[in-house]
């Protein structure tokens, strides 16, 4: 099986000027044709020249770290959506780098403090002012005859 001029030219356009990089199936045919017909070398050189021109096309690398900017832009948006109480606490735990045991101890002590506080607040016998006491004090105030100022 051989490759004629037309086929060789088509393959050049399809796969490029470097015949050694052509797909396996047609590479050997291309190299064989190139060795057998020296005039094909001119087509290869012409293709190389054309590819050099194509490679002069302008290209600019992205400015700075594109990936970093995208990741940073995605972070707050998703967090707002996904924020849950559990996630919030786990973020706080991570932020303060406390172990689970220490956090449990802190949480339990806080809960106990609250319970004790409420118990004292509701039962408060000393701070309680009865209506009778209140009236007496009001009466004392109204009957006060000393200097006001």
């Amino acid at each position: 099986m051989t490759m004629n001029d037309k086929q060789f030219k088509d393959k050049l356009l399809m796969y490029g000027a470097d015949v050694r990089n052509w797909p396996k199936g047609i590479r050997s045919l291309g190299l064989k044709a190139l060795n057998s017909f020296p005039e094909l070398q001119k087509l290869v050189e012409e293709e190389e020249c054309f590819e050099r021109v194509l490679r002069t096309r302008q290209y600019e690398e992205p400015d700075g770290d594109l990936a970093g900017r995208i990741v940073a832009a995605a972070l707050p948006r998703k967090k707002k959506v996904q924020r849950k109480l559990g996630a919030f606490f786990s973020d706080v735990f991570r932020e303060f780098s406390l172990s689970r045991r220490a956090l449990t101890a802190v949480s339990v002590s806080l809960i106990f403090t609250l319970i004790i506080g409420f118990t004292i607040g509701f039962s408060n016998p000393s701070g309680y002012t009865s209506a009778e006491q209140y009236e007496t004090r009001l009466e004392d105030f109204l009957n006060y005859e000393g200097d006001v100022l």
Binding site: L13, T56, P62, D63, G68, R69, V71, A74
Partner: protein, 217 residues
């Protein structure tokens, strides 16, 4: 990029640093994620994993930027398009349907390319002065031409190609993708893709030769 910082809480994790305008963003991530394929990362993203998203972006943002740049010829626009599309993926990860069987890169290339053409339609073509002197005393010796002029003309020639031919040239020649992958991205058969590449190159060769003063062959 990835520097292993130790087992920490028992899992091996990587410090994944991203530079954001001089500000370092550190994404602490599970090393296992780094070795996952794109499609598995996408499943994690659908579960809300920002780490998986960061890896996917870091792995592919440059390649998608390259094709976007080739299609819009502007660094800022190309960056905006890539960022916009990745953020869209992050906001709506279920847009990716693993059931359809397409590779992530194939699917996302298609998205980026479509977005670039939409963007391009909204903008006018780059104006290249028609009176630029291209003829040379030694046809073929293009090295003497002003680089910017040459680049502008080449850009215009490529832009004048039909959309599919542009895609074929950009994906196969500039991005070096296989014919198979490029065909899948454009949504044509391999034979059709080869035909697109051939027609595009033939047209470009003809136009370049004309400008270089060699005339059609």
């Amino acid at each position: 990029m990835a520097e292993i910082v130790g087992p920490g809480d028992g899992r091996q994790r990587d410090a994944f640093s991203l530079d954001h305008g001089g500000r370092q963003i550190s994404v602490d991530m599970d090393v296992k994620l780094l070795h996952l394929e794109d499609e598995s990362l996408l499943c994690r993203i659908q579960e809300g994993s920002h780490e998986a998203f960061a890896i996917l972006v870091d792995r592919h943002s440059n390649r998608f930027y390259r094709i976007a740049y080739r299609l819009v010829s502007s660094r800022d626009d190309a960056e905006d398009i890539v960022q916009e599309m990745f953020l869209k993926l992050w906001g709506r990860p279920n847009l990716w349907d693993p059931g359809k069987g397409a590779k992530f890169t194939t699917w996302f290339y298609r998205i980026i390319i479509n977005r670039c053409f939409d963007h391009h339609k909204k903008k006018k073509l780059i104006n290249v002065p028609e009176d630029i002197e291209f003829a040379d005393e030694n046809p073929g010796q293009d090295v003497l031409f002003d680089m910017h002029q040459k680049q502008a003309v080449l850009e215009r020639f490529i832009r004048e190609l039909p959309e599919r031919q542009q895609q074929a040239v950009n994906l196969c020649f500039y991005e070096g993708l296989s014919n198979n992958e490029a065909a899948q991205i454009i949504g044509v058969k391999v034979k059709a893709l080869q035909s697109l590449v051939m027609r595009a190159k033939t047209t470009l060769k003809y136009k370049i030769k004309q400008y270089l003063g060699g005339g059609p062959r």
